[in-house]
């Protein structure tokens, strides 16, 4: 099983969710984060004091899936999130050792969906 973390542009969330739905990935956890990457931040000004805003708003997706779902999931995220401009984001894949569904106590691949 894999634990996939994706950092995407906030306004792309709906597109990514749609693309994931098409490949039957419906479970995920979403949060707001700030990203520092190659994309340039916008300088903010407060009463004349400039602050180079290095951090940009991003959305983070976390998706646990069985191994065979990994590639379709990655492809769907790319499909939904890509604009071709710097700042589109990254996908990180980690190994997932175990999953437990709290409601039933089920473990492993059966608990993931």
């Amino acid at each position: 099983m894999k634990y996939i973390i994706a950092i995407i542009q906030p306004h792309k969330l709906d597109d990514v969710k749609n693309a994931l739905e098409e490949v039957d990935v419906n479970l995920m956890t979403v949060s707001t984060v700030l990203g520092q990457g190659r994309q340039k931040g916008i300088t903010e000004v407060y009463r004349g004091a400039k602050e180079a805003g290095g951090l940009l708003k991003k959305v983070k997706l976390e998706i646990a899936c069985n191994d065979e779902y990994m590639e379709p999931t990655i492809d769907a995220i790319i499909k939904g999130a890509r604009t071709g401009e710097v700042g589109d984001g990254k996908i990180f894949v980690m190994d997932l050792q175990n999953v437990v569904r709290i409601r039933t106590g089920e473990r492993g691949g059966r608990a993931i969906g």
Binding site: Q9, H11, D14, D15
Partner: protein, 410 residues
């Protein structure tokens, strides 16, 4: 001069003043997080710029001695020349002329601010600023002169607009529709609903609007007397009836009433009663309030999605439609028993008044649409009216104003 009347109109001026910040929060709360400051800023800069326009020449254009044929005021009162602490009996004999001028300034300020809701989240700030000054000068000032200025041609015809149903709401509402159509939809508008980022701010704004509207309407009596009392009562009950009606419609449609809807209904009720408040009795005001929510709900929730224009915060659906209904309702329900200086409406046997009211909104509507269209085209051709897609995506707060509303890491 009467110190009681003066005290009342002074405080009414402050009440109308606070409506524009109220509007800023009403709108700002409905915007997305990345655009809230752009809305606050647009309202705030209007308070600055149109206030100055007004004392420099706007007041003279609107209320100054007629330049001929009731079309526009002359520039005789430019820079407030001849306007001072003594009353001007043409407009209000018991209060300083300065007070009348300031009270009217607040109307001139909030009217363009109302339009802001239509082009929210996608307009270029510099172009907005130029447009809004032009609009105040070429749309609001003439219209105010026609309807309210001594010698104004619609006033001469007997058109009734107690506190600005046409001059303020219908004019800004129809102009808003033109702006929304010309600017086009926001990026992503067809894909998903934009949720209000902070509904409590919107409720706060609605509360400040309602609060200030007592000054708006009851102050338009220009005295602290029985007429202002009538306007106060009708203003409250129309808003209450409209708020409740909107809530009930939502309940029936979706199985639950929202506070956003209730607040919207309250505002619609306030809009509709604005032209009528000093001419109709409280029971008819309740009726006006009930009907306006039905009309505005249909406009906002049914017609807008059908036609597919993006009037971001429903300026047309609430102020345009509400102002129109209120103007007609004035022609229906006005009573000389309520206000001897007014007229009787259709239901009191006076067909003429109803026809005058129809003429009033046709003239105002055509004028506002055409003039706004022309001004838009001029500004768009010279400066470009809309921000580029990238700026829109990032948000106007950062791209137009270099600031963001809330810190995230703390």
């Amino acid at each position: 001069m009467n110190s009681g009347d003066t005290a009342w109109i002074l405080i009414c001026t402050a009440l109308v003043f606070i409506m524009t910040p109220g509007l800023a929060f009403f709108y700002g709360g409905m915007a997305r997080r990345k655009n809230v400051l752009s809305l606050l800023m647009q309202c705030f800069i209007i308070m600055c710029v149109i206030g100055l326009q007004w004392v420099l020449f706007g007041y003279s254009l609107a209320f100054g001695p007629d330049a001929g044929h009731g079309i526009i005021g002359s520039l005789k009162w430019m820079g407030l020349a001849g306007v001072g602490g003594a009353p001007n009996p043409d407009y209000a004999g018991t209060i300083p002329h300065y007070v009348f001028m300031m009270f009217q300034m607040m109307f001139a300020v909030i009217t363009p601010a109302l339009i802001v809701g239509a082009f929210a989240e996608r307009i270029k700030f510099s172009s907005f600023l130029v447009f809004i000054v032009l609009w105040a000068t070429f749309v609001y000032d003439p219209l105010a002169h026609w309807v309210w200025g001594v010698g104004g041609w619609l006033r001469e015809l007997g058109a009734l607009d107690f506190a600005g149903g046409i001059v303020v709401h219908f004019s800004s509402g129809t102009s808003a529709l033109v702006m929304a159509l010309l600017l086009g939809k926001r990026v992503g508008y067809d894909k998903h609903t934009f949720r209000p980022h902070n509904v409590p701010f919107t409720v706060l704004g609605a509360a400040l609007l309602w609060f200030g509207w007592f000054g708006f309407n009851a102050g338009s009596a220009l005295a602290a007397d029985g007429l202002s009392a009538n306007a106060f009562v009708t203003t409250y009950v129309a808003a209450a009836a409209a708020g409740l009606t909107w809530a009930l419609i939502e309940w029936q449609q979706h199985g639950g009433a929202t506070v956003l809807g209730t607040a919207t209904g309250v505002v619609a009720g306030l809009v509709a009663i604005t032209p009528a408040c000093g001419f109709v009795n409280p029971m008819n005001a309740i009726f006006i309030g009930i009907i306006v929510s039905i009309f505005c709900y249909i406009a906002v929730a049914k017609i807008k999605p059908l036609l597919g224009y993006d009037d971001s915060l429903d300026v047309f659906g609430v102020h345009g439609v509400g102002g129109l209904w209120g103007t007609l309702a004035t022609g229906l329900f006005a009573e000389t028993e309520v206000n001897a200086a007014g007229a009787d409406g259709l239901l009191f046997g006076n067909v003429h008044q109803f026809l005058v009211q129809c003429l009033l909104f046709v003239v105002a509507g055509v004028f506002a649409v055409v003039a706004t269209w022309i001004l838009y085209k001029i500004v768009d051709a010279t400066m470009g009216m809309r921000v580029d897609v990238k700026s829109e995506t990032i948000g106007l707060d950062l791209t137009q104003h270099n600031e963001s509303a809330y810190t995230m890491l703390e």
